[in-house]
């Protein structure tokens, strides 16, 4: 029987169209072609800017780096629809990250191996793609924030 951690299991995004999975992964938002406001996750149909009646949007990559606005962790396993990873539950950290160009804050889990003890408000982080959970067939991927070595 092959070891699932070494076999080439299909790696699929846990959600469609939210991020790229290339060597330099980025979040995918969209920009209103009328007022230029950027949205993440993507907005659809109508621009949420009350001063804008735009209905056309173009996909745009968000900044791959930002600074931690705040952070916390999940010491207890969250309830469904959270899907636990295999094995014993391991607490994970969550960061709210401020993107300077977009002037927005985006929440994400923190990359595997980092705890709140490794984090600070103001610290620089970078977007990475890692496993969120797996089932018999696939590894499901999500974006996470990883501290940038200073």
């Amino acid at each position: 029987m092959s070891d699932s951690s070494t076999s080439a299991r299909p790696r699929v995004p846990a959600v469609e169209g939210w991020f790229t999975t290339d060597d330099e992964p980025a979040l995918l938002g969209n920009r209103c072609t009328t007022c230029s406001t950027v949205f993440f996750p993507k907005t659809s149909f109508f621009c949420p800017n009350p001063a804008c009646s735009g209905e056309q949007f173009e996909e745009t990559k968000l900044s791959r780096r930002g600074r931690i606005w705040s952070y916390t962790d999940a010491q207890y396993q969250p309830p469904p629809p959270y899907i636990p990873r295999s094995g014993d539950y391991t607490p994970f950290a969550i960061a709210a990250v401020e993107l300077a160009d977009e002037q927005m804050v985006v929440l994400g889990q923190v990359a595997d191996g980092f705890t709140v003890d490794d984090l600070e408000v103001g610290q620089q982080v970078e977007l990475v793609i890692e496993e969120l959970f797996r089932d018999d067939d696939n590894d499901y991927l999500v974006y996470k924030w990883k501290p940038v070595a200073s």
Binding site: C35, P41, L107
Partner: protein
Amino acid sequence: MTDVVVAGVGMHPWGKWGRNFVEYGVVAARAALQDAGVDYRDVQFVSGADTMRNGYPGYVAGATFAQALGWTGARVASSYAACASGATALEVARAEILTGRCDVALVVGADTTPKGFLAPNAGDRPDDPDWLRFRLLGATNPTYFALYARRRMALYGATERDFAEVRAKNARHGLSNPNARYRKDFSVEDILASPMVADPLRLVEICATSDGGAAVVLTSADYAKRKGIAQPVKVRAVSTVTPAFPQTVIEMPHFATDSGAAVNDAVTPFKDSIAQAAYEEAGLGPEDLSLAEVYDLSSALELDWYEHIGLCKAGEAERLLHDGDTTIGGRIPVNPSGGLACFGEAVPAQALAQVCEVTWQLRGQAGERQVEGASVGITANQGLFGHGSSVILST
């Protein structure tokens, strides 16, 4: 304009009773009617605050309570606004009185909650941010509370001990409150020994989910006068404002804030705007307050609220706490009821429970937790999806 008054209030004690929410609502409603001295058959409008966790009867709470109390042909409405549902139901009832369509309205909210973290309803809903935040982030409600707490530590030097002191204060406030679920004294050391749930927040610092019910009888001031209702309390303002765009503070259940890059209008931050709108309507300010009931979903969030409702400038909440200003006997007691720390949250009842407490305080009926000479009180509350509320009452 017609003045609207609180003629009566009532509650079913908070707990984890595990019974049908309708029972709690009816107990609270009957208590409020009795408190007002109003016969239920004189109620012309029943305004229910909905619960999302008890099936169809919960979505039509106004009709559910009206039927349980006995059909009388009264008009009904049912409102859902997350944690602000009770205030929205109150506002719907008040509007009926203000427009002159009725003189007497009954507002009821009650909930039966599951154990543990509040989670989305079952079923796959990948278009629902409240579902997605659990699936993709594992972000529970305490996640967001903890982000604000950590931010406060980074910005203002707040400490875990400060947060524990808020919790200890509220524990003392709630000790004698017969409607509170938790009536236990906690030392700061007890609290700091409680297990960490979402760093830096510990188990006893995070609001539990509770069963409970609260009800308010609203009448026109004329009706109260005609019927000789004792100590009517004036409803000076009800604020149910939404955020302004761009909303650049992360809020439940969202993944990201609005971007402030293209539209850089200076907008009042949402939680500040909730109380501001109430002050404007009432023609009162923070300096006029005798007490406040604010939404301490976490110990640390109470400190944020001191600033959002204008009790002090940003970064000064810890000083207010340490000076004893917000303790009963201090300059501006906050959460004399014991707050969510002692109640836990029964979502559709909670904003009404705040109104009940302020009413008892303004009438001088709060017993051991009485704020001396209370004449003006404010409530402040926030729910997810852009909901929030603030009610100002005065003698």
